[in-house]
Symmetry: C2
Subunit: 348 residues, 2 copies
């Protein structure tokens, strides 16, 4: 059953155990990853298919998760659009020439992902060859809003002031930018599916800084464009953001077979609001994994998430956001085992 547990849950079909994977499951918390990073920059790993494939496979081997997720950075598609990215140590991505004007937006180049992002697609092929049908591979992309926020702010942001200033003050420029990003993201995700991705996740990580009205007016149509293109491929899509308690019904309208939740939104309430035709993913607080064994508190929290899902088909266990770099690997492995053990008991 393991080869299809995750995909069955995406389609709300019964499973033998609740499937589990983790956002950022390939990353700095793993010694195997740090060993690769000691020799290669982040972009080198992303752009060399054998390295990207190796790093993608590390957590599948080490943790026994029910899905792999392609190792890549959400900002990669910006590079062929003409953006120079820099990853400053410990500071996250930096874009020295942020997008602020209509002319900046007009200068962004269209992207043919099968050419300029071919290395990423090749990594998908390598991972699929290694995984076979044993464990499914999730492709992913940043959603138009989240990519726009990096482009406009020039990096990470706390208040998204410049992003909202363009949105509120120059809505035509905003929509032109979002339209360009939506086309690139849609093409990129479709190309990932063609290359072998068996599901995709759209990361709208920072969209929770918006009110529902602003989401509907400035974001929804563009995310919908992306998710319609994915839907046409037939593979399931996970639509994820943080701080989205008031947005999830609109995110569902934009699309996605599965809505990803952070820990702020109780999974049972969210699922009730979303209705039976939607699957849900989440939503343990990543900080819950920063404990020492034994794990009574961690077990209690894993149980609580599973109880909120109440054994209903269509729950994929995950954290509410990515694994924190300081997380002990053995704790991540323990959570995989807990999810499988506790959900099997429930099924029995």
């Amino acid at each position: 059953m393991n080869e299809s547990r995750f995909l069955h849950a995406c389609r709300r079909e019964p499973v033998d155990r609740t499937p589990v994977w983790f956002m950022r499951q390939a990353g700095r918390y793993m010694p195997e990853y740090r060993a690769v990073r000691a020799k290669h920059s982040l972009l080198e790993i992303c752009f060399q298919p054998d390295l990207a494939a190796e790093v993608t496979l590390q957590p599948v081997r080490a943790l026994g998760v029910d899905a792999a997720i392609l190792f890549a950075d959400i900002l990669l598609p910006l590079i062929p659009m003409g953006i120079q990215l820099e990853f400053a140590a410990g500071e996250g991505p930096v874009i020295h020439t942020p997008i602020r004007t209509a002319a900046d937006v007009a200068a962004l180049r269209p992207v043919e992902p099968r050419e300029s992002l071919a290395h990423v697609l090749q990594a998908i092929g390598l991972v699929r060859r290694d995984l076979g049908d044993h464990t499914p591979l999730i492709g992913f992309a940043g959603a138009p809003f989240t990519l726009a926020s990096y482009l406009i702010e020039g990096g990470s942001s706390r208040n998204f002031v410049k992003t909202k200033q363009m949105m509120y003050g120059a809505p035509q420029t905003w929509h032109a930018l979002m339209g360009k990003l939506a086309r690139v993201v849609a093409d990129y995700l479709v190309a990932q599916v063609e290359a072998g991705a068996q599901a995709v996740q759209l990361f709208d990580s920072w969209v929770g800084c918006l009110s529902p009205d602003d989401y509907c007016e400035y974001v929804l149509p563009h995310s919908q464009f992306v998710l319609r293109a994915v839907k046409a491929t037939g593979v399931p899509a996970i639509h994820f953001g943080t701080d989205t308690a008031m947005l999830i019904l609109w995110m569902k309208t934009a699309g996605g077979d599965v809505i990803g939740l952070d820990w702020r939104t109780p999974l049972d309430l969210a699922w009730k609001a979303l209705g039976p035709e939607t699957a849900v993913q989440g939503n343990l607080d990543p900080v819950a994994l920063l404990v020492e064994a034994p794990y009574p508190e961690l077990e209690r929290r894993v149980q609580a998430v599973l109880e909120q899902a109440a054994g209903r088909p269509g729950h994929i266990f995950n954290l509410g956001h990515g694994i924190l770099p300081e997380t002990p690997v053995e704790n991540v492995k323990a959570v995989v085992e807990m999810v499988h053990k506790f959900s099997m008991r429930r099924a029995a």
Copy 2:
């Protein structure tokens, strides 16, 4: 009517116009404030009653707001507890010896605010003498959770990892810390009321990083302790946080006559959930003020907030969080005028 518009709204009584004030209405966006800051540090202003009073009064004179709020920093009560605070330029507060262990918590000293925070209370007296009964003065304090997060993280935080680690991993230490903070905050707010504050706001600015379950277990009893003490004084209390879409009903349980909302939570939905016995404050996105005149978009957004309040008694207009430093003063003044004009039209 102006002298009581704000206080009437706190008590859900009818008003001639919707009252409006702004979080961080005294601050860097004002030239008058920057002139004082050019000569004095933040802590000097907080600790010299005449300077604190002057800075508190600046926005009342310049903007025509319906309430003054004492100029102070939420971290001031930590100083007599034994904490060394530093305000690094552009980096926010820094605590070089953060609180991490039971021994650290045990070493925190009890505080008699009438002695060690007497300068703040004196500033309240000076402001009241100047304002008379014309404009009410709001006192305030940081809530136990938000203060604890600064103490434990050593400053501002993005993920509140160390705060939650103590909460989840050492709950006894956590509750001991929160209990100490709750006593200090309760005494401090009661002393502010005795000194002349006619309402208070409890700022739990960062509590929205928690799930509702965690809020109820680790925060609610301590905020409740504070708000019960305030209730006994008879002045209205505003209970505010950001990212609180899933927390507002529990914040109401903890206490407060008015629940402050950020822009993520639609005011109409929130008020419906909170019920008729609670007043609401908010909730324009602060970034909406970063535009150039004329103001069609800003007017539309101010109107939208007022329409969600639907003329119901018990709405206090505010932003969803503090005024951003880059906000043009004339735009803040324009919002005050819009709120008064549009809400009068509605009342007519």
